[in-house]
Symmetry: C2
Subunit: 140 residues, 2 copies
């Protein structure tokens, strides 16, 4: 039942580019698959599943390093998963920090664009705002 597929098919199924798949193999995230007579990679369902796992984790912003730990954990179900917990928690904190930062940014950019008249650069609010903040950089 386990139908084999080429790297291109795998790529289309999972939505990960061909060179990226090979890169993941090099990086030790995806096991080196068996090869055809002529030396081409042949993947099974299990490989597809792992790649999808990687792709999803990447979308969630996990680093390849973190994903390596996660895969290692998934491959050894007897191990305690405190690590997975720690990794996910760190990720959540990071995500929250980034949301905060981006929200401040959003406000700043909005203010920048609000007073902007699309005239000459001389009285351009955008450049002004950036410069003013520049000027205050030595107060702290």
């Amino acid at each position: 039942m386990a139908k084999e597929m080429s790297i291109g098919e795998l790529s289309r199924h999972v939505g990960v580019k061909v060179p990226t798949i090979r890169y993941y193999e090099d990086a030790g995230l995806l096991a080196a698959p068996p090869r055809s007579e002529g030396g081409q990679r042949r993947y099974d369902e299990r490989a597809r599943h792992t790649l999808a796992f990687i792709a999803h984790a990447r979308e969630m912003g996990f680093s390849l390093e973190a994903i390596r730990s996660l895969i290692d954990l998934a491959d050894h179900p007897e191990k305690p998963c405190v690590d997975a917990d720690r990794i996910a928690k760190a990720r959540l904190e990071d995500v929250r920090r980034r949301i905060d930062k981006l929200r401040k940014l959003e406000g700043e950019l909005e203010r920048m664009l609000a007073g902007h008249h699309s005239g000459k650069a001389a009285d351009c609010r955008i450049i002004e705002v950036l410069s003013d903040h520049g000027r205050c950089a030595d107060d702290h």
Copy 2:
């Protein structure tokens, strides 16, 4: 009045690391400053201001490429600043897209951690969630 400073002083004032300052010079963002007898860089207030501008723009997530355009504009006040407008608007959109994505992520990570018992990896929600999403990757 324009007191000169070494690259280290500039670094401390603006909060940008020394090698990064040199990198910005190489990248054409910061003009090559005059040198001392012995060949060390000597910066003035104007350079400090420009570096602060760059640092602030970087914090706001502008690419070096975008910052190059912004600086070019700031240096030529007679030019129309439609470009600055376009750059800032693109940035705002990007920021908003990222906030959206990160908020979805936040929810997903929260759900992941909610049902998690810190037991064995075998019944670890975190790995499960990541895997399940992996499994559904072929439905679209």
